[in-house]
């Protein structure tokens, strides 16, 4: 092996310095910055390890618990439906986390695609303005955006003939959709820019006008590229939804705290409940993260 190597170096072939790989890493980071995603690298056995950790926490809590009180495992079983669905199976608790993430993604995507298309507009003011909006919402902390909407958005909207109440979770949806919008906008811009310019030029030479080029040539090709980062953003959003428990939205963290309170805040229950909370979030996001990797591999087109 070493013989081959030295033989290769001594002739005209250059020693492999960092240059090509470093360039690749840099462009990868540029793409990640544009798309705002981290490429998750996950393996199925990690889930088994997490489950073992959970079992360990429950076991140690069981051993610590006083005999006369309800055991940690029984307490967890008793409160699980409450944490997952809220009282009387109303859609609160963890299911509200999912609902919030779903709607925030929906609104964020619609607004984000529009903003992203504005970012590639030919009109300079539109391009500049949408760029500023995008950068502003991308670089502000999620919690600050959430507080802004929660505190400044009206609790009901009076349209003259009908009054629409805006409950807290709906405000949270709007608060979360703002950063999602900005990031999706960057995803769209990045995807459009990642297409080789030959696509635009050949469309022009075939007498497509700009709108036709966008709708019939550019965007269909971008669509595939946007899906993996889009799913990745959904994961990030789903993991951010517990933030709204600060504002008292009745989601999983709020209910976990309430359940712990109802059990008298016993210290040995805390690890069990919090690890359970981490675990249900993990169980939800993990398959989605895996799926985005698979799609990415599938859609990887070489141009």
């Amino acid at each position: 092996m070493s013989g081959n190597r030295t033989a290769g170096i001594s002739h005209e072939q250059h020693m492999d310095v960092l240059l090509p790989l470093a360039r690749q890493q840099r462009s990868q980071a540029m793409i990640e910055r544009l798309e705002g995603t981290f490429r998750l690298k996950v393996q199925p056995h990690h889930a088994i390890w997490m489950f073992l950790l959970f079992v360990l926490a429950v076991g140690s809590a069981q051993a610590q618990a006083p005999k006369e009180l309800i055991s940690p495992l029984d307490a967890l079983i008793k409160w699980t439906p409450f944490i997952l669905w809220g009282p009387e199976g109303g859609l609160t608790g963890f299911s509200l986390n999912i609902i919030i993430s779903f709607f925030a993604m929906l609104f964020g995507t619609v607004a984000g695609v529009a903003l992203g298309l504005m970012q590639i507009s030919l009109l300079l003011p539109v391009r500049r303005g949408s760029w500023i909006v995008t950068q502003f919402f991308r670089n502000s902390p999620w919690l600050v955006l959430l507080f802004t909407i929660m505190l400044l958005f009206p609790f009901e909207i009076d349209l003259g003939f009908v009054v629409i109440p805006v409950p807290d979770w709906m405000k949270a949806v709007i608060g979360f959709s703002l950063p999602v919008m900005a990031n999706i906008s960057e995803v769209v811009r990045g995807a459009v820019r990642s297409l080789p310019s030959g696509q635009w030029e050949s469309a022009e030479s075939l007498a497509f006008n700009r709108r036709q080029t966008l709708w019939m040539i550019i965007l269909p090709q971008c669509f595939k590229r946007m899906i993996p980062p889009w799913i990745n953003w959904y994961c990030i959003l789903a993991m951010a939804t517990p933030l709204c428990s600060i504002m008292g939205v009745e989601e999983s963290v709020t209910y976990t705290a309430q359940a712990l309170n109802a059990e008298g805040d016993r210290p040995e229950l805390l690890p069990v409940f919090y690890i359970f909370l981490l675990l249900i979030h993990f169980i939800y996001t993990y398959p989605i993260a895996r799926w985005s990797i698979q799609l990415e591999k599938k859609f990887a087109v070489k141009l």
Partner: protein, 246 residues
């Protein structure tokens, strides 16, 4: 400074825009203290996460399977669970196990909310840093590593003196992204009552009923901080550049 305060006082009197933090000395002191706490928190988390990333990336290349699996599990756990729940977990669960000392009549834990915020956010960002550094290390060609060992470097020495300095330069752009993210994530320390910017802003608008004004201040503060970080990192990146190494 006087003029500055007078301007905002006048703004309040004429338009009702109450930027109390700029003319009321009490609020100004609170604001500056919070600003300082946020910056300290960000820097502490940043350094801690870089250390975690440095050690983690080294351990990922370890010979022992168990060490590698533990690191992989750590990365997956911190990347796929909500950071906010992680902070609560660290503070309420692990914080319970920390011994306390007598702080003049009441019991104070050795690690306070600030310490837990640094630890949990550091581990959160460290999980990402580990991955980033690892990809940087992979970019270092094997012949360089072999050359280092041929010169008598041990595995640790070649990591510290040869591999890491090269890998670090390669992964600076990715690191940049992560650190910006970390800076924004420091607001989560609000959840465990660290008196940082978000938390103090909440106190200030509760006392002065000036939510929109404080929101503007908050946005300017955070976007400005991110801009400074990005600018500083890109300067640093340029400075660290070795000719011929990307």
């Amino acid at each position: 400074m006087e003029l500055f305060g007078d301007f905002f006082k006048q703004l309040y009197d004429t338009t009702g825009w109450n930027f109390a933090v700029f003319y009321d000395p009490f609020e100004w002191d609170r604001f500056v203290a919070a600003m300082w706490t946020t910056i300290r928190l960000a820097i502490a988390c940043l350094i801690f996460s870089l250390i975690v990333g440095f050690v983690g990336a080294w351990a990922q290349g370890a010979k022992s399977r168990i060490v590698r699996n533990v690191i992989a599990g750590y990365i997956q756990f911190f990347r796929n669970t909500p950071p906010f729940v992680q902070i609560l977990f660290f503070y309420f669960v692990l914080g319970n196990l920390v011994p306390t000392y007598d702080a003049g009549g009441y019991q104070e834990a050795y690690i306070g909310s600030f310490g837990w915020a640094v630890i949990s956010l550091g581990f959160f960002a460290g999980a990402f840093n580990t991955e980033i550094f690892r990809s940087g290390i992979e970019a270092v060609p094997e012949s360089t590593v072999e050359a280092a060992s041929a010169l008598g470097y041990t595995r640790l020495q070649s990591y510290i003196y040869v591999i890491f300095p090269l890998a670090f330069r390669v992964c600076l752009p990715a690191l940049n992204n992560n650190l910006v993210n970390l800076l924004k994530t420091t607001t989560l320390a609000y959840g465990i009552a660290v008196p940082e910017m978000m938390y103090t802003a909440n106190q200030i608008w509760s006392d002065n009923v000036n939510v929109p004004e404080m929101m503007i201040v908050l946005f300017i503060f955070y976007v400005g901080l991110v801009a400074i970080l990005v600018w500083g990192m890109s300067r640093w990146e340029r400075k660290m550049k070795i000719p011929g190494y990307g």
